[in-house]
Symmetry: C2
Subunit: 204 residues, 2 copies
Amino acid sequence: MGVQERRARQRQELRQEILEAARDLFVREGFENVSMRKVADRIEYSPTTIYLYFQDKADLLDSVCVETLAKLDARLQALRDATSDPLERLKRGFRAYVEFGLEYPNDYRVAFLTEFKASAEPPRELRCRAMGQKTFDHLRTGVAECIRQGIFAPRDVEAVSQSLWAAMHGITSLFILHPRFPWIDRDTLITAMIDIVFQGLRPA
Amino acid sequence: MGVQERRARQRQELRQEILEAARDLFVREGFENVSMRKVADRIEYSPTTIYLYFQDKADLLDSVCVETLAKLDARLQALRDATSDPLERLKRGFRAYVEFGLEYPNDYRVAFLTEFKASAEPPRELRCRAMGQKTFDHLRTGVAECIRQGIFAPRDVEAVSQSLWAAMHGITSLFILHPRFPWIDRDTLITAMIDIVFQGLRPA
DNA sequence: CACTTAGACTTAACACTGTTAACTAAAGCT
DNA sequence: AGCTTTAGTTAACAGTGTTAAGTCTAAGTG
């Protein structure tokens, strides 16, 4: 019975190898500039081998994306555990989110700036969405806590959470997509945005 | 001498025809799902004819994008002329921007959500950027006016303007790129975002 | 040990893509 | 009439994602 286990393990290993090669290439050259053949070259297998481990290119993208979101989630989680004040926690989370996106722009692009083509039913995308929602949940509970403690004016938790996400994503994506726009200093802008938004959330 | 004029006019006409076909297809099917051959089919010319009028596909994209920005700019301009109160003007501009993006999601995608590949020097992109900056200028002067009149707390005009753009763009792009996320009602979210941000900009 | 079967992997091919070079045909000018 | 410019086309190249068919090896079975 050890045979099947070994085979399963080897299968898993190659899958992971493909995943890492793909991630590396995606991040380095951008998703749409990476062909299946390039990934195959990198791992020294034939292009079609990839299709034995992933449904198609979008599935490969999705799998890479899941890993990215896990990484972001871990970072936010760590930061959360290290901060007790709920307002401070949200502010730092905000900054960490943007900085994560700027640190790994291609990862961010893949995870948040790429449209998921409507794939037949939700085999793909589901995992990715589940992952994203988990991260979003952290934001939501943070907002709820701030409102409960009276740090924020009473508002709809969902509306505030989604607004905060949009603000974070707005900065991150604009920086990534339009690097030649005459931006002011990044940190200054992030700080300004945080100031404005959290000022606006305080009780009157 | 009328000959050259006629030729120039015909040239312009065909160019416009290509542009409209491309815009229509881009908007309907998304930029990367439209091939040069599809555009050519639509106008009933050979694919290579397009290259007599546009440098390459990115140039075609850029030209469509310029038109889009002009349309957005016109809308914002009209709204600006119709509103005297500077705060109200900014708020309505905010809403109009997002609604424009949601009304023409593929146009928005093309203009704001597509990365400009680094083309040798700036033949392309320059026009587009100039256009975008013009629109951004409206935002900037609106913000400056609000600060001058004491409607906003004194802050760096550029920081506020860029933050506002990021907020608008954040909502718009998330709606477009992640339509399956469990968003609350669109208008409610836009309103919430406007409330939060402009509340945060008021003097203490 | 010989033989079949299952699995992993590859080769060859299809139908596309953006783009270029070389060609044709017509209109204008002298 | 002959030459030149211009507009447009055809054919081709190198690349893409993806599938169907084939190969080769390792495991299981008489």
